[in-house]
Symmetry: C2
């Protein structure tokens, strides 16, 4: 029939039983006449266990050695999955990142894929073997093993699908697909049958936790058709592809992201170039910034607030505090107890009423809005973390039920 | 000063504390001005844990996938040791087998090293970096990861020392060196300061459990000076090298090997070529044979006995039984409850009294001898396993105290 790339995450291969389950899915697809390439992540807690081993010895190891260590996690998974497929009696071969031809840049811990030399994979597929590839890894120009960082295995799968010209790249996870909101606390949430790359991009970056941004960007760039499915049942998942814009839903989904922290710089001197000064300092220190709000200055002073991840908070505070006199900031306030709640939908930009309707939903639920930011296809608000789930439910029910 | 290759086994790096201990040893050697290349095995029980993971999924996986799995054990060790050395503030780089240039034949699970392209290692040494290499592994002509089988890490270390022209190859273990007998049950046993390759070869193959045969053979071939040392103290170890034969001790050590089984073929037809027939059958089936005894035939019948490892016993019996009529054997007897006790020493061949003295020691201890075999530098006897330790003590005290 065709060529299918499948990707299974860590929970899908967390123990022997789950590995056998994945093996059956893979061989089912193979038996239908497809060539199958499978990308796997490290088993369940393996990565955490390896990190723990490292921390016991050296709390700040070089990224190179960390990559050397962590890449073993996927190598264990691929061999175990290959053994499971052998047990079912099918021809199979496993490959590490370098064996599969993944060449990357030299950024240990967060490498980007430069190219994939898929000769060996194509060779094995020609022999009708199932090919199992270690996700999340490749080698750089020094022949050092590097990992691709967050969302790496999804990215490996999509990149392979692009290079091999696969008919579909199936991303298996423990949920049924992409939902209009998190079904764990939004009872009325439902699964989407399809969604556009751009919408998925916003949902991914907003904490929907299904697909990583990077892999969606790559899929969009190379027009790889994605299917997000559950590895635990045979339900139809969600297709991510170019979606016809006619008659589409305005709002696709509502998301919440608890991993954010707010920093407010109060009483900043109101002179031109102040924002540039602040954010280039943060950028130089490798601190990612998400929402930014600047109050209208009174000619003497203004307030500038921004959000970052919780992991970057301490460093951001340190940088701001260390440059207090240069920046001429009177006071620095911060909070971790905030969440970002967002609605996403490609049609949103042309619908002036969307933002108003969202704020109305929050007002009716008595939820205070700390910050607001809008883009072409999303509107995000920062709320107190304790209000976040209620905010998602209120907005979801206003737009999507 | 020079170039030192050090090899640390699994128990030497079994936990964080031991890894730090090894890191300190390595950096001590480095600080004395030496270039240092370190070969490490997988941590303590890692290999067993990985095998267990595999068995849960597939009790008879392909050797290729098993090698893919097991090779992660050493990759974990090298990165952890590198991190420990980083913590001590020294420049270090870890390398997998393929990164270190180990090319092997294609025998998965028991590959032999074809060549080592040491360019990268030499490059790193030129930069005064400590180089940590994963033992026990390499890649074959398909670029598949293979393991070297038993004694693989020792072999990796010796091969590297040969290729790099190292001044010494230090093999670290949990004993102080090579002893005249097993100090766990021979109270009078003592450590040897030096021993020849040939003597070490006999001791290694006779169950002294310090160095694997293969690595000693390789060291002999390329004249690599070996030092067997403890990773737990700073005692001088035992040097294995070409030893001047003048005034040497006649007997170097006494060993015991419990991993043997005896098969006796009784009432074999006494015709020429019978032994050839039997042992070529065993060889074709991959069964290793150690001691061989043939009774003097009476023209009609003779008895042929041989020993093999316990692991090969069942297969050997199967082969013998399946060819009973061809071989014309009346009865097949076997026992696992036997041990091989041997004395080793290069001077032995010229000392007619050695065998007699050994048998006297056993006679005095009331120990029955089942089989006897002699070579240029050893005499082995097969005794009941229950008598083996007493036999070693008796012989040791006769010759070496």
């Amino acid at each position: 029939m065709g060529l299918v790339v499948q990707k299974y995450g860590g929970t899908s291969v967390k123990d022997a039983e789950r590995v056998m389950n994945v093996a059956r899915r893979v061989t089912d697809t193979y038996q239908k006449g497809n060539n199958v390439v499978v990308v796997v992540s490290a088993q369940g807690d393996t990565t955490d266990e390896l990190i723990e081993k490292a921390m016991e010895i050296n709390p700040s190891p070089s990224k190179r050695e960390m990559d050397m260590l962590l890449s073993t996690g996927e190598q264990i998974s691929i061999s175990l999955l290959a053994m499971a497929i052998e047990k079912l009696g099918f021809p199979v071969v496993s490959m590490t990142g370098w064996q599969a031809g993944f060449r990357t840049d030299s950024t240990y811990g967060a490498a980007r894929i430069h190219e994939i030399n898929a000769d060996r994979i194509e060779n094995e597929l020609d022999k009708r073997r199932i090919v199992i590839v270690a996700g999340f890894q490749g080698i750089n120009k020094y022949d050092d093993i590097v990992t691709l960082g967050r969302g790496g295995s999804d990215t490996s799968a999509v990149a392979l699908a692009a290079v091999l010209g696969a008919d579909v790249c199936e991303i298996y996870t423990d949920v049924d697909g992409v939902f209009t909101a998190d079904p764990r606390f939004v009872k009325t949430a439902y699964k989407l049958d399809e969604i556009s790359y751009d919408e998925m991009l916003e949902l991914a970056s907003l904490g929907a936790n299904v697909l990583h941004n990077r892999s969606v960007e790559l899929a969009k760039k190379y027009n790889v058709k994605l299917a997000v499915k559950s590895s635990l049942n045979n339900n139809e998942g969600t297709y991510v592809k170019e979606v016809d814009q006619v008659e589409k839903m305005i709002v696709r989904g509502v998301t919440r992201d608890n991993d954010c922290a707010r920093i407010a710089l109060c009483g900043v001197e109101d002179t031109p170039g102040k924002a540039f000064q602040i954010f280039s300092l943060l950028s130089k220190n490798g601190i990612g910034v998400d929402l930014i709000i600047q109050s209208i200055g009174n000619g003497t002073q203004k307030d500038i607030s921004f959000t970052t991840t919780e992991g970057d908070l301490d460093k951001a505070l340190e940088v701001m505090d260390g440059n207090r006199s240069v920046l001429k900031v009177q006071d620095i306030k911060w909070s971790k107890d905030v969440s970002k709640v967002s609605i996403v939908g490609a049609g949103m930009v042309n619908n002036v009423g969307v933002a108003a309707k969202m704020f109305e939903a929050l007002y009716n639920a008595h939820i205070n809005i700390n910050m607001i930011a809008t883009s072409e296809i999303k509107i995000s608000v920062l709320v107190d973390q304790k209000d976040a789930e209620r905010a998602v439910v209120a907005i979801h029910d206003k737009f999507l039920v």
